[in-house]
């Protein structure tokens, strides 16, 4: 299996070429743009109903995922995410799991397992809305974000990131949800909550977030007439 990253960074897209019959790619529902005719698509709930429901509820991913299987060599599959923005690929080698923010996963080799990790009370009750998908195994992992994708190699000093801009991070990092500044800052700074990362690893940050766009558009919506 080979792949090519196209139209980066604003409108990222992936072209996957299957070298042999039987090769597979697991994709977020709706990610397929086009495919050669000798590729079969199968829709299923990976890991069964319970795991899929958990992923849907906690991980923000679809209940169903599509598996594309090449029936002949040399078949190509084109994939793109829903929002405008970048797509990144990580070649997983079995040693370093990756955590993705809900909705960031786009596709991966079937040898990569996806599990919704309970972010713990810190992610759930802090209001940060941090639900993480744990990706582990071998092969390519494709993920996307709204806006540009900025990678930060976090070292001893750690790094702070606005919770609404986190795309994902490698397992060597641990985080805690915190506030920046004093109590006054929590309410008035407009910065809300941040994640403080410690450890060794890579952190991906999106340069925009779709929630801000929605907030901007809200006042422009028509107003419902009463009675």
């Amino acid at each position: 299996m080979r792949y090519e990253m196209l139209d980066k960074p604003d409108f990222g897209m992936v072209r996957v070429t299957f070298d042999q019959a039987g090769e597979q790619m697991l994709c977020e529902s709706g990610a397929m743009v086009s495919r050669d005719s000798a590729i079969e698509m199968q829709t299923n709930m990976q890991g069964g109903l319970l795991a899929a429901a958990k992923r849907k509820m906690l991980g923000g991913e679809s209940l169903f995922q599509n598996t594309f299987t090449a029936q002949a060599p040399g078949q190509t599959l084109w994939l793109a995410p829903g929002p405008e923005g970048d797509v990144e690929v990580l070649e997983m080698n079995g040693t370093m799991p990756v955590f993705l923010q809900s909705g960031a996963w786009m596709a991966s080799a079937p040898s990569v397992t996806l599990d919704t990790k309970w972010g713990g009370a810190k992610g759930f009750f802090s209001g940060a809305g941090l639900f993480l998908l744990k990706c582990e195994g071998h092969g390519p992992l494709f993920f996307n974000c709204y806006g540009g994708m900025h990678a930060v190699d976090v070292g001893q000093a750690g790094y702070i990131c606005d919770t609404s801009h986190i795309v994902g991070f490698t397992a060597g990092l641990d985080y805690r949800v915190t506030k920046v500044g004093g109590l006054k800052s929590l309410f008035f700074s407009g910065e809300g909550l941040v994640c403080e990362f410690r450890g060794q690893g890579r952190l991906w940050i999106s340069t925009r977030n779709a929630a801000s766009l929605a907030t901007f558009l809200h006042p422009f919506r028509p107003v419902e007439r009463r009675g």
């Binding site: 960074p9 900025h150 990131c161 800052s185 925009r208 766009l213 907030t215």
Partner: protein, 224 residues
């Protein structure tokens, strides 16, 4: 203070590098990420100043980021898609459309100018900030869409929704775009800014209000 802008033009991100003890002042909500040794402080600069800023279409509070015990960095971005530009301070300073302001050096004085009665009701956010500094300094501005730098030599008319910043050497007045109010309204051009003099003007290639009304009317109605 070293500003590097990446991911241009659509999803630009500014990385501000700070020396130990150095600060940068930013619009609230603009911070995306930062080093752990950077401290953030929230100030309103006094109630009246804060209120005036809020009427200027900005937030009441501004944040000051300071690198402690060594160098650090802060990442800034605006909320909509678009490019950014760094303005080097000049003796005359700049006028900045209030929603375009992202950050500035701490020695840059930012004052809110209310553009008069007419602009108050225009709803196009023609509130402007005046940025001045006694010495060298920088202002970081963000646009919706791309940024074009234009030269005004004499007179120039620009749609208020497309303004980002201009040299304070220019005289400006906000008015209607055609001679009559009805024609102005029907033209869809709304309010324009009339410039006079010599100086540079930075414009954004998209108008946020136009974008909002184009997309907004396709969305389901909200409760009144």
């Amino acid at each position: 203070m070293q500003i590097d802008i990446a991911y241009r033009p659509a999803h630009s991100l500014a990385r501000v590098g700070l020396q130990a003890g150095e600060s940068v002042v930013a619009e609230s909500g603009a911070m995306v990420g930062m080093s752990t040794n950077v401290q953030m402080q929230t100030q309103s600069g006094g109630l009246m100043k804060g209120l005036k800023r809020m009427f200027g279409g900005e937030s009441f509070f501004r944040n000051t980021f300071t690198a402690q015990n060594g160098p650090g960095e802060v990442l800034f971005a605006q909320s909509l898609c678009g490019d950014m530009a760094t303005l080097e301070m000049t003796p005359n300073g700049y006028f900045i459309q209030s929603s375009s302001f992202i950050a500035s050096s701490p020695n840059v004085n930012i004052e809110t100018k209310v553009g008069g009665f007419k602009t108050f009701f225009a709803g196009e956010g023609v509130f402007v900030l005046k940025a001045t500094a006694a010495g060298p300094g920088q202002c970081l501005v963000g646009a919706f869409g791309g940024i074009q730098e234009m030269m005004c030599d004499g007179t120039l008319v620009i749609d208020t929704g497309h303004l980002v910043a201009w040299d304070a050497t220019l005289e400006y007045s906000v008015g209607k775009s055609a001679s009559g109010w009805i024609a102005s309204f029907l033209s869809g051009e709304g309010l324009v800014c009339h410039f006079r003099g010599q100086g540079r003007i930075w414009i954004q290639t998209r108008n946020p209000a136009e974008y909002g009304s184009t997309v907004g009317k396709m969305l389901p109605a909200r409760k009144g």
